[in-house]
Amino acid sequence: MSCPKDKITLEFNGKPVTARPGDTVASALYRSGQRIFTRSFKYHRRRGLLCLAGKCPNCLMNVDGAPNVRTCITLVRAGMRVTHQNASPSLENDWLSVVQHFDRLMPVGWYYKTMTDPRVWHTAEPFVRKIAGLGTPPSPDAVSGNYEHAYRHSDVAIIGGGPAGLKAAISEAENGRQVTLVDDQPELGGHLRYTKIAEAALPELVAKVQTLPNMQVLNGSYCFGLYEGNLLGIVQPRRDPDDAERLIHLRAGRVVVATGAYESPLLFPNNDLVGVMLSTGVLRLIHLHGIIPGKVAVVIGQSPLVEPVVADLREAGLQIAATVAPKSVVRAIGKKYVTRIETRDARHACDLVVMCGHRIPDAGLLHQAGARLEWNAGKGAFIPTDLPAHVSAVGQVTGESLSAAATLPPVLDPASKRAFVCLCSDVSSQDLANAIDEGFDHIETLKRYTTTTMGPCQGRMCQLPAIGVCARQTNHSMAETGVTTGRPPNPGVTLGALAGARHHPTRRTPMHYEHEAAGAAWLDMGEWKRSRYYQSPMGASEKQCVEQEYRAVRERVGLIDVSTLGKLDLKGRDVGRLLDHVYAGRFSDLRPGRTRYGVICDEAGIMLDDGTVSRLADDHFFVTTTTGNLDFVLQWMNWWLVGTNWDVYITNLTSGLAAVNLAGPNAREVLKPLTDCDLSTAAFPYMACRVAQVAGAEAILMRIGFVGETGWEIHFPAESGPDVWKAVMEAGRKFDIKPFGIEAQRLLRLEKRHIIVGVDSDALTNPFEAGMGWVPKLDKEDFIGRSALARLATQPPKQKLACFIMNEADLPEDGAAIMIGGQLAGRVTSARFSPGQGKAIGLAWVPAETAREGAEVQVRVRGRVARARITEKAFYDPDGARLRM
């Protein structure tokens, strides 16, 4: 007998329980005297162990914070904390069990009928919320990062470690294939572990499997889905608390399903009493755990299934009170536990009822993969047929060694409201009959209306009896009734496993740490980290900081990191042609050394992206895109290149180049000592570009002005990022240079009426409405969106993007409503307080007739209506004189 040193202690509801090595949580608790394992979902009836195979809802508990753990297949670990669920205050006394006495008020589908009235719902909601659901989700801090995904590949995957699976695995491996064997039980062997079968050569098979080098065994792991392309979803639970719960994505050349057959319960009143168990469950307790679950048993079943079971039970020392046929059972009797079985002609006292239930091929994975489940009357089961290519089945899942004689068709006459078909949601045969009478007489609608087969067991315990009752009530055959569709995941998967480890990619610009040192307040733009503004050590407010950055750019000089812009290098003889085709503007005539603004429209003339195009040499262009649209623009260009045979080669240099925008009246003075390039307006005019050295790095310089001041956008190798940034800041010190962030940039550009595609425009905006009718060059050769743009050019737009300035000191939010005469007429896309104007300014969509100088509109500002005036010109330097200085 086991000595104390191999005893394991776990905690159940706060009390210590001793277990033996090899015990599951359920077997350890059963040995310690626990008989009630859970309370049922709806009626809170007592439920005890039933299948011991992880296939029913009767042993779900909370283990180490995780709800709904199937304790009968979870091995014990020292220090495990197990608590019951769905019962209050305790499993033995659950006050909600009174509910079952009101079952008349809660017929099947009652919530669909009663909760339609909002008043009823409001009264019922707090109570329903309290009692609904099964188990409590763990708190976010209770779930550590111990979840991960893993990707595996093998030639053959075998699902099921019973005799058929073991043999298949061995022969595949011996033929030189890489084999992965997946089994959901703690140990390999399937039914050989607990039944006495003469051919049993289990130890040899297991030993063989473990020695083959090209075999990987995942035991205690369950496969919950078989997806397209033979992708298997497998969960490998934690072995110890430090371990990770792992979701394995296994891609297999072939899948062999050897999931065997399982047993499902018989239908008779009170078939859910504690002490009524499946024969395989009883045999598991006896042979795997050395537990004899009772003294006097009644065995219900048919020949030839019952005889070996009876023999086995006798040998274990159980007294068999009677062996009765399923047909003759009238009901089970018992208050807390089963105490008697009443048959048509007798009553048998007992403390254990052993059901030799239906044998059901575990064909869920095959069904998911596309196999058909066909009723086979000779075997009394739905048998998988028409297996998809590269998926096969072996062993009992194919219906091998099943015979209809073993069990009767799963029907019950008459229906009873205590003969439970669905243990998960307490649906009785009477409930099903009622639902069918209400018109839900198709197995799929019956499933949805009653939730039968939709609970934690996912139909394993209830599907066959439900089909039986449905067939009987509708006078159809089993074959005509058919099965419900099985979908993954089955069995259920924890959300943690699906989510996996937290690898959130973060994109940092080359100057990230310079910004951090300068006190950047971060803004997440997609995966990018950008500086919203720079906090002042003096603790100034965001508004004050932004205003200081704004003033630096307008009055002196400022520097912003624009490395997140998309940057594409285009080489080849036909680049101009591609750009002419993809952009609405013209680029083939752009001279080397010049930059032009470009807008991409789609076939309907909708604006998709904007950016700059610079020609560095005859066959070399450099294109920038907005931060978020890089991937799209790259794909868009490549898409239009397909099949053209044009000499165009695109390299994405976004990651390779850092970029800054140096802007302000003193920008030239700051840059001059750092570069060999002549920066005078004569040599380097507005909208020109050059390749030159900047602070020792080879750079592309473009003289453009998003913020409306003299300035250069400078692109240079990412690894020089921090050095160039520091050099520019140092050179700017005597001009009191300031780094500026997104907020200041957005304000500066708003004063210039520069729009941001995707912020001020939306998925329906064309250039004419956006006030950029000069962009499309309709006289060039065909390009994307040309016919749509040509049509739009002749139609007056209904609405226009216009600038507005508030009359008083109100600041509308982005998205605020524009009203005219009390009617909703448009919306604000961007609004900021402009220090230059002393008022809030912004861009808004307004009716075209309102988009004229001096028109009055109302803007909704936090529930009030404030007045604003439309202006046609940019607020700041409308003629762009400062850009050309």
């Binding site: 991960e148 893993a150 990707y151 590949h153 990619p505 994109r507 000499d647 240099l653 990651s655």
Partner: protein, 197 residues
Amino acid sequence: MVEHQGWQVAATFGNPSEEAARTRESVGLADLSWMSKFNLQGSGMKNAPDLGPDVRVWLLGRREYLVTCEPLVADAAKARLVQIMGVETRLRPPIYVTDVTSVYTQLMVAGPNSREVLSKLTSLNLSEGARGNLSCAQANVAHVHAVVLRNDLPGIPAFHLLVGREYGESLWESVLHAGHESHITPLGLEAQKLLQK
């Protein structure tokens, strides 16, 4: 940190011989972003050019190759390319060379457990049969698009992950996280030299 072929590179994270030993036994992670890389495209790129024994040329796509080498030999490789192109430009079709050294962060995951670690981050099949030495592929690694190059150290399988430079720190952390169970070690330049022997 030491200066290495014009780059600042970590010499060691503590103990070079221990870093090397742990890599031999299990798995190590090194930053090789200093390696020179350039992209070759163009209708002239029908076959991989021969750029000498110290330069690796990887086929990325149709008429697109990635060249990797140590900075010391990069100039020689470029000169050799110019030579090849010199002949070809007259003949057309052209070849375009773009330096992409700065585009990529290059991390090397080396050691017998490198596959185990990477299998937590990518669905790419890294088995010997599918991804032999000197093969390359593109896949998502830790949710980031990566070029995966297999370039073994003597007797040790090694995978190089090339991702956009801005993802560097993020990927480094993800690999260390995935390798925690295998006691992954960061590898400095010193240890890399030991492993080359």
